[in-house]
Subunit: 305 residues, 2 copies
């Protein structure tokens, strides 16, 4: 038996078929073309799902899981109005797809889906209290406690990117100041670098410059790492995890990032008091975590039934 997972992003739709052991059997990627609006995007999603159903046979599919950008409500299956999906406003995505396919459909925040994947098949296996953080153009998170990803009252559990870490910090898209996402994401690194260098640079280019010894680039990274460190201290004090998994593009900066985060955690009162050594490890599933986690949702639901 198989499940189908869809990772719906602002720039691409990645759909795949997963078996019960967590092996991704087939994948298909289409551009989201988000500007076309929800109807066209959902049509493209359905194209990818149709192709997967043809491939493995509808009778062999137990259900469909969708990972989508927040805010969304997993309890009602509604996509509420993600900033990077223009025109989406209270779209009952889960029920629409269920009506089309007659299969169980599950909707989950994309970061939560990736957290599920890392916990079940990746870096988080065996953890009883895992925090997953993705640091990419944005910052998201998911918390898996006793094998269950926590959703909160309305699907907003662990919106880690919107934790305020500096009330005097840069303005966030959400309207608040100094959200972790506004001061430590790839976008924030690029913004700080553009200010420092007077020209447009990507986070990747900043990391490369820093690696080659450029001081200005290093300072930009240090600022972002400093805020990520504060975020991690807060995560430890608020969730008391036994493991922290870090994914997303910025995590690929690698050793210097993890060293900075471990140092920040070393300053944490509770960690010191408990003599705890909370491991911080890189995610293992890379860019596939979202689609694997989405496809894992039907399997999880089956186990919990």
């Amino acid at each position: 038996m198989y499940s189908i997972g869809v990772d719906l992003g602002g720039t691409k739709i990645l759909t795949g078929v997963l078996d019960e052991q967590g092996t991704l059997q087939h994948t298909l990627e289409l551009p989201t073309m988000a500007a076309d609006g929800p109807d066209a995007v959902i049509r493209r999603m359905r194209d990818t799902i149709d192709r997967m159903l043809d491939r493995v046979g509808r009778a062999n599919v137990i259900g469909i899981g969708i990972g989508a950008p927040g805010p969304l409500n997993p309890h009602t299956g509604m996509v509420l109005g993600p900033p990077n999906l223009p025109g989406w406003d209270q779209i009952p995505l889960r029920d629409e797809l269920h009506e089309v396919y007659g299969l169980p459909v599950y909707l989950e925040n994309d970061a939560n889906a990736a957290a599920v994947a890392e916990h079940r098949f990746g870096a988080g296996q065996g953890s009883l209290q895992m925090v997953y953080i993705t640091v990419s153009t944005g910052i998201g998170g998911g918390v898996v406690i006793d094998g269950q990803v926590r959703q909160g009252a309305a699907g907003g559990f662990a919106e880690i990117g919107h934790m305020i870490v500096d009330p005097d910090g840069a303005r966030c898209n959400c309207g608040n100041r100094g959200c972790l996402e506004a001061v430590a994401s790839g976008t924030a690194i690029a913004r700080m670098a553009s200010e420092a260098f007077g020209r447009a640079l990507t986070a990747e280019q900043v990391a490369e410059l820093a690696m080659r010894g450029d001081n200005k680039a290093q300072q930009v990274l240090d600022t972002a790492f400093y805020y990520l460190g504060i975020g991690l201290v807060n995560i430890v004090n608020l969730y008391d995890p036994d493991l922290i998994v870090i994914g997303g593009g910025v995590a690929r900066i690698g050793q210097p990032l993890f060293a900075a985060l471990l140092q920040a955690l070393g300053s944490n009162y509770f960690r010191r008091s408990y003599g705890m050594d909370v491991p911080i490890v890189p995610a293992q599933l890379g860019a596939k975590a979202g689609v694997i986690g989405a496809a894992a949702l039907p399997w999880l639901a089956r186990e919990q039934a």
Copy 2:
């Protein structure tokens, strides 16, 4: 049948007997005299427990619950080294008391115990995702999800007072800067007022002065409320609660505090996006929440068994 609860604080020990309906039948308060060290303090705790056992009859008691200051580990029953209990370092309090009395003994962080009490018998009844915050000389918290107070990997879940809300803020006892407790607790209010007025003032006196129209006092409160507001926005984005219960001495400032917190929450992206209206309500059990919650622990354990 009855349970015995002990609220072990830095200044007093409050012990009581609870019936299954949550009615506190008898209480006894002794000064902690913490400076005498753990052996003397445990002796005094045992005196209060002995008196309660005599009162209701040992055969009628199902167990003993202890609420104590963190850091402690509820899984191992160890008190690790609370700043306001000098000399306590890795004390196996749960096992010591179990050995003496032969009854089941449960150890829980004092804020978690109060959270249990408010959820079961107070302002949090019926909530599926409750965050309890106590704002007093310190700031603590407890999160009750699906009826269970979350303990985390090592007993450090929801150490809300040590969430960093301003990395340039005042130094905290824990060593970090700008912890919520360092900038918004009763102690922080008193410290800011002493600086503003050039003489020692308690948080209560500051609140009284502000009520009578004193601008300087109002500014001190506004600063503390501002940081509490940031803390609340973070709590909503991290725990996505359906209810926030606020207890502790500072909560007695009442309406101006709750108005400021509701205003801060109104600025929260996810709350706005979801159209959520997270109620913020005052705790109902006052200074008895700790002892009631401690005494509730044996009942909870019995239900979950």
